[in-house]
């Protein structure tokens, strides 16, 4: 029995070591962001001899970090708000209306899930330009409404089916308007799927690369964090200490949020995959 427990402990220690090894590339990125250029060049795997924040203050100013962070927040919040609003009301109505017409509209809403973004990237750009949505953070945020809608409609549609129709009827008898009925009776009941959609979409929009590259990469005032990191590496090809600092600064917000909301994020990602 005792040897069994000892074996367990060894097994567990080995697993932890494997996990740390798995994350080693991230540790290396962090360590090297605190080194000087010479130190990076002489030894990458050693810990920094003199921890320095110089790289951080340089990159912070150079890419105007607060501005980029704000851009990311604006794009994500606008995108999320619209996806949830527009998709939930449509999915509710489509799920409640039983007719061939309603089924066709539902199909039109979810069918785009089959279209790979690279198939339409040039023409999305043209369409956005025509509608004056290009080169602005809110324009990009608005564009996400359409890109996020198919999956959101799909998930909401399935969930609304499980909400009894009697609730609608009784609210109607009480004289509630259709909007009142939706926002004060139905929407609160959708909370669990709304959380799932928020988690999947925040992870997607916050980290998205290609659409922002085409839409808002023109000016340093509209860039996102990932775009800035990308441009930065292009300009400083051999200055790895700056590059790694930019990488760490780009991903740090995600990691901090993950540490606090880990349980919800994992749950949301699983729920989204299972429903999608």
């Amino acid at each position: 029995m005792r040897s069994n427990t000892a074996g367990r402990v060894v097994f567990e220690v080995v697993l932890v070591l494997i996990a740390l090894l798995f994350l080693y590339p991230l540790f290396l990125a962090v360590f090297n962001s605190f080194k000087s250029f010479q130190e990076v060049m002489t030894d990458v795997i050693a810990l920094p001899k003199h921890w320095t924040f110089d790289n951080y203050s340089y990159v912070w100013k150079y890419i105007n970090y607060p501005r980029l962070f704000l851009n990311n927040v604006v794009i994500t919040v606008i995108g999320l708000f619209g996806i949830i609003l527009v998709s939930s009301i449509a999915a509710y109505k489509l799920s409640r209306t039983k007719s061939r017409f309603s089924a066709v509209i539902y199909f039109i809403c979810i069918m785009p899930m089959l279209i790979p973004f690279q198939s339409i990237m040039l023409t999305v750009l043209k369409t956005a330009g025509f509608l004056h949505l290009s080169n602005s953070t809110w324009g990009l945020g608005l564009l996400y409404w359409g890109f996020g809608a198919p999956l959101a409609v799909f998930i909401y549609h399935g969930f609304v089916k499980g909400i009894p129709k009697e609730l609608d009827e009784s609210a109607k008898i009480d004289g509630a308007s259709p909007f009142r009925l939706f926002f004060s009776v139905i929407f609160p009941l959708l909370k669990s799927v709304t959380t799932t959609i928020i988690i999947i979409d925040v992870m997607w929009i916050w980290n998205d690369f290609l659409l922002p590259l085409l839409m808002v990469n023109g000016s340093p005032t509209t860039k996102t964090l990932t775009l800035a990191a990308y441009t930065f590496v292009g300009q400083y090809t051999s200055d790895w200490q700056y590059a790694m600092t930019a990488m760490v600064m780009a991903v740090l917000p995600s990691i901090i949020v993950f540490i606090f909301l880990q349980k919800y994020i994992v749950k949301g990602v699983v729920a989204g995959a299972v429903k999608g």
């Binding site: 932890v16 449509a90 990308y230 699983v270």
Partner: protein, 295 residues
């Protein structure tokens, strides 16, 4: 009269609730899609205001003379097959290990999941740094020759690097799907198999794996959808090189459209990608549907 009025308000309500979403998907998908079909029939360098209509010439040229595109299709197919197999096998094994009673369970799951929350482009750059600078130091201190290999400079190794980094970034996602699947396997079933004297291998293949089938379906579907669109990692890690050995279909389209300014030609390829994805998805859905009915 009243009934008629009721019908109209119902219709108006239906319109008000669904028109916003229809406008949004039209802007994001349907209008661009129609334009894609139109552009694919044009010869257009992107500088002049409009292209000239050339019918199906772009497609003819792609299928007869574009070896780079054909190569990128092969690369993507090879990548997709290996990615799907390796990531699912690894994730199932890891899930079984992490599903057992461990004190550090939460930490371990979080550790494997973290890369998945990071932007793929950033992940690509971090690994480029590891391959180019980190391996040199690691080679120096361990003396192992694998660190001396040219991981991004040699064709076969560059392919492996792209595969490795893609798997490293996303294995956490498949891991949590399988862990969720394992947790829905009833405990008494596992115990019953244990009582029957089934060995660990027997238990895995005749109890655990069949019950994991729904998770496998989801995971394979996601792995396929993601791998045929592989783009971000290639852009930041190898830039399609060396030569064009890690040039995926998506990356090839991106380069033709935005770097070579071949608006019509690139869009024709984009349309081919769409048709390919459509066919694969429909095939996959029918296969899985049939399996579910049988099972």
């Amino acid at each position: 009269m009243n009934k008629l009025g009721r019908r109209w308000t119902d219709k108006a309500e239906f319109g008000i609730f669904t028109i916003p979403v229809l406008i949004c998907v039209a802007i994001a998908f349907y209008i661009p899609f129609v334009l894609t079909i139109k552009y694919s029939l044009l010869k257009w360098n992107g500088i002049s205001k409009h292209g000239t209509f050339i019918g199906l010439d772009n497609f003819r040229q792609i299928f007869t003379g574009d070896t780079e595109f054909i190569d990128s299709v092969w690369f993507t197919a090879k990548f997709a097959v290996l990615y799907i197999i390796v990531i699912n096998v690894l994730a199932i094994l890891l899930a079984i290990v992490l599903d057992s009673k461990l004190k550090s369970k939460t930490f371990l799951r979080a550790a494997f999941f973290i890369p998945y929350i990071l932007s793929l482009v950033v992940v690509g750059f971090i690994w480029k740094f590891i391959f180019m600078q980190g391996f040199e130091s690691l080679g120096g201190s361990t003396g192992w020759s694998i660190f001396g290999w040219s991981w991004l400079g040699e064709e076969k190794l560059a392919f492996l690097s792209v595969l490795l980094v893609s798997i490293w970034q996303s294995i956490g996602f498949y891991l949590v799907i399988y862990i969720a699947g394992l947790q829905s396997v009833p405990e008494d079933l596992k115990e019953a198999a244990l009582m029957d004297g089934a060995g660990p291998m027997r238990r895995f293949f005749s109890v655990t794996l069949p019950l994991l089938a729904p998770s496998v379906t989801i995971a394979v579907f996601m792995a396929l959808t993601n791998s045929i669109k592989v783009f971000d990692v290639i852009l930041s890690l190898t830039g399609g090189g060396p030569g064009s050995s890690t040039n995926s279909v998506a990356y090839n389209i991106y380069r033709d459209t935005f770097q070579n300014n071949l608006y019509g030609y690139g869009t024709a390829k984009a349309l081919i990608l769409f048709v390919g994805v459509l066919i694969i998805t429909i095939l996959q859905l029918t296969i899985f549907k049939r399996r579910e009915v049988e099972g």
